[in-house]
């Protein structure tokens, strides 16, 4: 088991190197570099910069070097924990990302927990009461849930809340807590606000997971061991929860591998629409303004979170399913 985890961990740096190279290539692709954008920014604010100074800056940042050398410089500073300076905010990228990374992860994890808390009971109920009214209603909700883009659901909720209840549901804090230091009250305020974006983010996944749970459990419920247990007089709920549910759980656990990463990258859209403090909107702005080192840093973090999510699901699956452990 430990060997299995170590093997996967050993792969992580290799993957990160590949990703960082691809990301750097994408960041380099747009015409011009960030100094051209910088000069344009200065010009628009009325100040100017001489050609000599530009040349000096270009040399300082290594922008006159070939691609490979620039990549090497970037990697070198990354390894020293330096992500460079944001062109737009004129602040270190590490600070900019650090401020919002916690909430990005919190939102995704919260949404994840919510998804499972809803999807598993819903799936179990649907499977044990097939063709009941609740089952049909859940099926309809599931289909619509999968078909609705995240941002659309966010828009509809925001519009209904604004137009009919006259409340604004954007942001993660009440106005008085936005700039307040961390305190118990602020955490409670955060919890009061985070569930709505978390539901919006998780609805499609919830629908999908409860369908998987339902299908797996239905398969298990017809097996002879269930009939045997029922024949020996086991209580129905105890029986269902004790055996078939545990078996139906495995395929669900293996979905974590794609679901957790999907939540991280999906939160980008929800956060942009609902105006949440999240690295998603930060990335969007950075991409539009060609703030390449900030964008590159955020993309790297997304990749890291994605790999971490996959790793987590592999480890969990190995923990709960002995067959996988033995194979390895």
């Amino acid at each position: 088991m430990i060997r299995f985890i170590l093997q996967r961990l050993a792969l992580l740096p290799l993957l990160m190197v590949i990703y960082s190279f691809v990301i750097f290539a994408i960041m380099q692709a747009p015409p011009g570099d960030f100094l051209t954008a910088y000069v344009a920014t200065l010009a628009s604010s009325g100040s100017s910069i001489s050609a000599d100074q530009i040349q000096a800056l270009r040399h300082d940042y290594g922008l006159d070097q070939p691609f490979i050398v620039q990549y090497g410089l970037w990697m070198k500073s990354l390894l020293q924990g330096n992500m460079g300076l944001s062109l737009e905010y004129q602040r270190p990228n590490v600070d900019l990302i650090g401020e919002q990374l916690g909430l990005t992860i919190a939102l995704a994890l919260f949404s994840f927990v919510l998804t499972w808390a809803i999807a598993v009971p819903a799936g179990i109920y649907s499977a044990t009461h097939p063709r009941s009214i609740v089952d049909h209603a859940l099926t309809v909700i599931n289909y619509v849930g999968v078909a609705t883009p995240n941002f659309m659901l966010a828009l509809i909720l925001m519009w209904v809340a604004f137009a009919y209840f006259d409340v604004s549901i954007t942001g993660l804090y009440s106005p008085e807590f936005v700039d307040a230091p961390w305190s118990i009250a602020r955490v409670l305020d955060l919890l009061a606000h985070i569930w709505l974006p978390a539901i919006v983010l998780g609805i499609a996944g919830t629908a999908r997971l409860s369908r998987i749970m339902r299908a797996n459990l239905l398969d298990e419920l017809n097996k002879p061991y269930v009939v045997t247990a029922r024949a020996k007089g086991m209580k129905e709920w105890r029986l269902v929860l004790r055996y078939p549910v545990r078996l139906a759980f495995n395929p669900l656990v293996s979905t974590i591998g794609w679901y957790l990463p999907a939540l991280f990258s999906g939160s980008l859209i929800v956060a942009t629409v609902m105006n949440l403090p999240n690295i998603g909107p930060l990335l969007l702005r950075a991409l539009i303004n060609q703030d390449m080192y900030l964008a590159g840093g955020i993309l790297l973090i997304y990749s890291f979170l994605t790999i971490l999510g996959t790793l987590l699901s592999d480890v969990l699956l190995a923990l709960i399913d002995p067959r996988i452990r033995v194979e390895n």
């Binding site: 993957l15 747009p30 883009p149 828009l155 925001m158 794609w258």
Partner: protein, 372 residues
């Protein structure tokens, strides 16, 4: 198996016994009423994709700032019990506080409309000119806004018709590209095996663990600003299908691995068939229906992705119209409270994705020979 055929007995069994695979799939598919209804809806949708101008009542680009935020003018078919379609007229009043023109429905005045009537000229598939439209106002100078207008006074009904064309085409083309990539690379991986298989499998794993939305955004942002809408359109479809092919590639590989050992493949090889013939004539037909079902489930995902990218401003760009571009108008909550009909393009997305999912599920069940 014979349950789905109307007549029971020996005759029906004979029919089933000699029916081709496609016929069996069709019989099974026909039993899913919801899927059949969705299929009909999709056919209508793709007629709109082919002939958006026929359904549009106006030029989708025509702006008129004085006619901004006109509410939905609902079509009424009957007037005093007689068939005489009309839409209610609109009256504008200037708000004394905000000085903004505010439009309201005035049901007392009726604007006559005709079905299959002449309107502005358009070209059928770029071939010949016509002026026939599905709906046209009786008075050609009158503008009607069946689904309201946006902040620039553009007719949302006509824009949705053109947006549907773009969005549905992106979905279809992106999936077609994914299918080609998936079959070719998955097929090579499964049939050749060895080192090639290893390389392709690692590539798939790498692509599948990419944070999709951020990377798509970065790639779209890297597209040159001076590209034409057509170039951007194709670039976006390619970007979307870059990740899309991996799932299919995996499945095709699995099928090839399983089939490679089958007796009928060995028989074909001994009979002297070429590799291409074995793959195309003997192996492909056994899982083609499965591929079609899987790819029909991939189309809605592509549509949602395109809509999301365009909504964020990094997909299809104006002046090109897609459903995501239309939804950008609904980004501002204050605007939305004023003009909730700007959310209608989103409903089009939801309904068409729903239809694709239902058809895909129906096809998947029908294509599975072991389904009951």
């Amino acid at each position: 198996m014979s349950a789905q055929v109307d007549t029971t007995g020996a005759a029906a069994e004979d029919r089933v016994a000699v029916a081709s695979n496609w016929r069996l799939v069709w019989w099974r598919f026909r039993r899913h009423h919801l899927a059949m209804a969705s299929a009909v809806f999709l056919i209508v949708l793709y007629i709109v994709v082919l002939l958006p101008d026929f359904f549009a009542t106006q030029d989708p680009e025509r702006t008129d700032a004085r006619q901004a935020f006109i509410p939905v003018q609902m079509i009424h078919l009957f007037d005093d019990g007689a068939l005489a379609p009309w839409v209610p007229a609109i009256v504008g009043k200037r708000n004394p506080v905000t000085l903004r023109m505010e439009w309201q429905i005035d049901p007392s005045r009726k604007v006559r409309i005709h079905f299959f009537a002449p309107g502005p000229k358009w070209r059928v598939l770029g071939l010949f000119e016509t002026n026939l439209h599905l709906i046209a106002p009786a008075d050609p100078k009158q503008r009607i806004f069946l689904l309201g207008s946006d902040r620039l006074g553009r007719d949302q009904w006509s824009r949705i018709m053109h947006g549907t064309q773009t969005s549905m085409t992106v979905g279809l083309v992106a999936v077609a590209l994914s299918v080609i990539l998936g079959i070719v690379l998955g097929g090579i991986s499964g049939y050749v095996g060895g080192k090639t298989d290893q390389v392709i499998q690692r590539l798939i794993e790498l692509l599948q663990s990419v944070p999709t939305i951020p990377i798509w955004l970065a790639l779209s942002a890297a597209l040159p600003r001076d590209w034409t809408p057509i170039q951007v359109f194709f670039a976006i479809t390619v970007i979307l299908s870059l990740v899309g092919w991996t799932t299919l590639g995996r499945e095709v590989r699995g099928r090839f691995l399983a089939l490679r050992e089958e007796d009928f493949v060995l028989a074909a090889r001994l009979a002297g068939c070429s590799r291409a013939r074995i793959i195309l004539r003997h192996m492909m037909p056994t899982f083609l229906s499965h591929i079609i079902a899987t790819s029909s489930l991939a189309i809605p995902v592509m549509i949602i992705n395109e809509t999301s990218l365009s909504f964020l401003g990094l997909g299809i760009r104006p002046p090109a119209i897609s459903l995501g571009v239309l939804l950008q108008e609904a980004q501002n909550i204050q605007t939305l409270a004023l003009a909730p009909w700007l959310l209608i393009p989103g409903l089009v997305v939801i309904v068409s994705v729903l239809a694709f999912n239902l058809v895909g599920d129906g096809l998947r069940d029908a294509a599975d020979p072991y389904s009951q």
